[in-house]
């Protein structure tokens, strides 16, 4: 565990990302409420707000869940991933506004505390069409809150990346709960088949992209997975690796990034210590490998972050024979400095 955490700085790209995000959310809410008020003059503004916020948050959640596999399938989408945490926190805040408006609208000014009313207002747990769908939304909101509250890197280093990553896998549980919240709630009241179709399309896109990305990676792994027998495995001709870039391979179950820089070759683990970002998709800037996801840096010959940072990744021995790069897929302990192979 490292003692320091990197502040993720506000830079112009991030500001632009956040501005676009805020603009997109406002555009969505405005489109929903204005179209709703014009097409359904009898609808009340509270209902339109509750529904506009709900569908906006749910749409953002779909986007968040799709970004991961989209980036694995096509690096063009990487800029979306760059600031996914702000997307997550924004989604949580919109969902929170939906929940608060719903509790005020449906539970306040009665004979019972609104929160008690939310928990006990419907006890038909044994029935599917009458199930208290609000409680599924509440459970999802709690998970989203935990994720939003621990999104800062301070928590990442305190909890260790492994635990943090596991916590943040909770987004899939929250997604499942919300599918229940929508199917047992709004879809029981609405009569238009459009809503069933849109919900089904959302589920299909999210699962389909995850399956496609997983399948592609498995195929890559199988194509390149050499048995580890103490042998060096061939990677590619050194000339095929662009300067300050890497070639990624998978060998002996390890994902390895082989970098070329200053006519030298070094191999390090492909897995960033921060959030498992793909280091081999990053480039070398000022002598350091820069993770494409949030900019963590590693020295290519030792796998160590430059001081004062303490992250370290495994390194791998390399060799060049007749212009072809070979790598030994047995990892050296993280941070082990190895002499780079020189391109003649």
């Amino acid at each position: 565990m490292s003692l320091h955490y990197k502040a993720i700085f506000w830079n112009p790209v991030k500001k632009q990302y956040d501005l676009l995000l805020a603009g997109g959310v406002l555009l969505y809410l405005a489109a929903f409420t204005v179209a709703g008020a014009l097409l359904h003059p009898a609808a009340t503004i509270e209902t339109l707000l509750i529904r506009g916020l709900a569908t906006c948050a749910f749409l953002l959640l779909h986007l968040i869940l799709c970004i991961g596999p989209l980036c694995r399938l096509n690096p063009r989408f990487l800029p979306l991933l760059y600031n996914r945490r702000h997307l997550g926190v924004t989604m949580f805040l919109i969902a929170l506004a939906h929940a608060i408006f719903s509790i005020v609208q449906f539970h306040s000014l009665g004979d019972t505390n609104p929160l008690v009313s939310l928990l006990t207002g419907n006890t038909r747990f044994e029935s599917i069409p009458q199930f208290p769908f609000e409680l599924l939304g509440l459970a999802a909101l709690v998970i989203l809150f935990l994720m939003a509250a621990t999104s800062h890197d301070f928590w990442l280093s305190l909890l260790t990346p492994r635990v943090w990553k596991q916590l943040h896998m909770g987004v899939y549980l929250a997604y499942g709960l919300l599918i229940g919240h929508v199917t047992l709630g709004a879809l029981q009241s609405e009569t238009n088949p459009l809503f069933v179709a849109i919900t089904a399309a959302g589920i299909t896109i999210v699962t389909g992209l995850h399956l496609a990305a997983g399948w592609r990676e498995r195929r890559l792994d199988q194509a390149f997975d050499w048995k580890v027998s103490g042998e060096f495995v061939p990677v590619c001709p050194a000339a095929e690796i662009p300067a300050n870039r890497a070639k990624m391979l998978s060998a002996g179950g390890e994902r390895i990034a082989v970098f070329r820089y200053d006519n030298k070759i070094s191999a390090i683990s492909n897995v960033c210590q921060h959030q498992n970002g793909p280091l081999g998709e990053g480039r070398i800037v000022d002598g350091c490998v820069v993770c494409p996801w949030h900019g963590y840096q590693y020295l290519p010959d030792s796998g160590a972050s430059p001081p004062p940072f303490q992250e370290k990744v495994a390194t791998y021995r390399t060799r060049i024979d007749s212009g072809v790069v070979y790598v030994d897929p047995r990892p050296c302990p993280p941070g082990t400095r190895l002499e780079p192979s020189r391109i003649e």
Partner: protein
């Protein structure tokens, strides 16, 4: 990248319009939220709190998810002056009474006789009359279930939305059925009792034991 962003924004706005348009139609109803007018007339506690003013009968409820039973002193046919916000759906009218505005305006008057129309069975959704008549839109259905349960439990007269109309529900002794009916809020049920007519209002004096889920 620019194309991706523009496509995402356009897609989002389009989806918003599609979802907003596709919503189930909203009932034509009215709630003069925050507008209180003065009403003079004869108020009655039973079978449900109501008053006749200017020849029209209005149901009476309290603010929020509360009934008007606590505001109106018991007794039959009391002349009153009060301030209320109008709630209206179809030909049924209701007033949300402003707390503290209820003033006795004279000696006891004559109550309207309720006309019995015999024993009837109705099948429909249990709703709270206040939201159904226009305070919320939609004021019925699964999404509104917990709110209806809260309103009925808080003393808003329960009702059954059946055959396109609204039939208010009371106990055989005209006691409100708050506790018995709130667990059925938002659900389709069948219920049996003596139907009575009070002006434009239809009221079922129902035996809560006769209720069955559909």
């Amino acid at each position: 990248m620019r194309t991706t962003v523009v496509c995402l924004l356009g897609f989002g706005a389009l989806l918003a319009i599609l979802l907003a348009a596709g919503q189930r139609p909203f009932a034509p109803s009215k709630f003069e939220f925050g507008v209180f007018r003065i009403y003079n007339g004869i108020a009655e506690q039973t079978p449900v709190p109501s008053m006749i003013s200017g020849g029209e009968r209005y149901l009476l409820v309290g603010p929020g998810k509360r009934g008007a039973t606590e505001m109106a002193p018991p007794g039959r046919a009391l002349p009153v002056e009060l301030q209320g916000s109008l709630i209206e759906r179809g030909s049924t009218r209701m007033l949300e009474v402003l707390p503290g505005s209820w003033k006795p305006a004279g000696p006891e008057g004559r109550s309207t006789p309720a006309v019995s129309e015999g024993v009837h069975t109705f099948t429909g959704e249990i709703v709270d009359s206040k939201c159904y008549l226009g305070v919320m839109n939609p004021g019925e259905g699964k999404v509104h279930r917990q709110c209806a349960a809260r309103c009925i439990s808080g003393g808003v007269p329960a009702a059954i939305a059946a055959n396109g109309g609204l039939i208010l529900l009371t106990g055989p002794d005209d006691r409100p059925l708050s506790r018995e009916l709130s667990p059925y809020a938002g659900e389709r049920v069948t219920i049996r009792g003596e139907l009575i007519r009070l002006g434009q209002l239809q009221i079922l004096r129902a035996d809560p034991a006769s209720i069955t889920r559909e």
